[in-house]
């Protein structure tokens, strides 16, 4: 199980990486954390003739808070973001705990996971749940792609072959927001059969001022639970209302089955998990001072 041969380009800067991508087109693959790409290379499921390694681009190894958002550079490892997020953004920390295992997160990057767009992985869904966007740099410069416009199909995004995602941005929830996260996987660290993440915040009268819900593992892309968000916003909350909202959101999903779970399982359990994460979020925002 050795990769097919390839040429190796160590990019010294983001522009150099973009130039290499532009030069080699579909023949080239970007290497950041490598935790998804290298298994595919070893299995010869991916056979690029050129690997463009951005690990030397230290300028992309950053994390900062600015304008109410978390900005994560393309080289910042998941493990480092997890350490930061523990206090500051516990929803992200909870999600990251489920991304593989520590040794995977020590190499894997947040941006890489988002750009890889595996529909069963946690971080693309978090990008949706946290009203995120990515910054893509191409030969013609930079553009910002909102999360909603990024994911097209399994492992497929709206990025061009010569674009490099330099940064992912997550909106920091308002301090009073509660959060919830849950997934079902066959084993700890495996890709989710079904997963859901939620945010909820209340107005002064105890009504839901806003809600976010995102699913993963239940379709070709991560999916916002828009039906639930609309149903809940502006409403006084109750367990029944949350259950109805969860079911409404899950009913819009179009999952497929595989050897680990049927389509029906995914659809049904999406409703169960949506109810749980919204419930958790509600509990947490009621606890907030």
């Amino acid at each position: 199980m050795k990769p097919a041969p390839f040429d190796y380009v160590a990019a010294a800067s983001a522009d150099e990486a973009v130039a290499a991508l532009a030069q080699h087109g579909d023949e080239a693959k970007l290497l950041a954390g490598g935790q998804s790409l290298v298994p595919m290379l070893n299995l010869r499921l991916a056979r690029p003739s050129v690997i463009v390694d951005i690990n030397p681009v230290k300028a992309l190894d950053y994390l900062r808070e600015a304008d109410g958002r978390l900005h994560v550079g393309a080289l910042r490892r998941q493990r480092a973001v997890e350490r930061w997020a523990g206090e500051r953004l516990p929803l992200l920390a909870a999600a990251l705990k489920h991304v593989g295992h520590v040794a995977i997160r020590n190499r894997g990057t947040v941006v890489g996971s988002v750009a890889h767009a595996d529909p069963a992985s946690e971080l693309p869904a978090l990008l949706l749940c946290l009203d995120g966007e990515v910054v893509a740099r191409g030969p013609k410069g930079e553009r910002v792609i909102p999360g909603a416009a990024l994911f097209r199909a399994p492992l497929t995004t709206s990025l061009a072959a010569d674009e490099l995602v330099t940064e992912a941005r997550f909106t920091l929830p308002r301090p009073e927001a509660g959060w919830g996260f849950a997934e079902v996987a066959r084993r700890h660290g495996d890709f989710a059969l079904v997963g859901a993440a939620a945010l909820l915040w209340l107005d002064g009268g105890g009504r839901a001022a806003g809600a976010r819900l995102a699913f993963f593992g239940v379709g070709g892309t991560p999916t916002r639970g828009a039906a639930a968000e609309t149903t809940l916003t502006g409403q006084a909350l109750s367990a029944e209302r949350i259950r109805d909202a969860a079911r409404a959101a899950a009913a819009t999903l179009k999952p497929e089955g595989d050897i680990h779970a049927s389509a029906r399982y995914r659809q049904d359990v999406a409703a169960v998990l949506a109810e749980r994460v919204l419930g958790e979020a509600w509990t947490r925002c009621r606890k907030a001072p």
Binding site: P5, L31, P39, I51, V102, A103, I104, R107, H188, G189
Partner: protein, 166 residues
Amino acid sequence: MTREIRLEVNGQTRVAHIEPRTSLADCLREALDLTGTHVGCEHGVCGACTVLLDGEPVRSCLLLAVQAVGHAVTTVEGLAPSDPAGAGSGLSPLQQAFQDKHGLQCGYCTPGILLTAHAFLRDHPTPTHDEIREMLAGNLCRCTGYHFIVEAVEAAARAAAGHQPA
């Protein structure tokens, strides 16, 4: 096709001739004769090939050898206190705990588990049962059922904290 790289492994500078496609695991084993790093799946799941890169556990099957240039690599061969006589060298306290508690059977997954646990105990000197199990979940063992591995890691933590091993 091959290129020469210089790696820092277990505190020594080593020279290897490898292809860009050569994994760090294969480089350590084939080019540098450090066969304590084992290869179990080559797709990042089993953890047998875990080494430390700048002190943090990583899958050496998912890292190209060329990517390790400029980083410090620690393998299982670098865990034990070195013995100038070269023979009958000793065991680190963690390794000793694995022998004391029967934390290994065939020994194939053991190097990867030792390195994972070594870094873990540095960051979590007084771990709970659950934390130990979560840490171990990234390394598959097919022989032990993990029971005695958990006990070994606990014993090593206690020993490091100055308590008598139970």
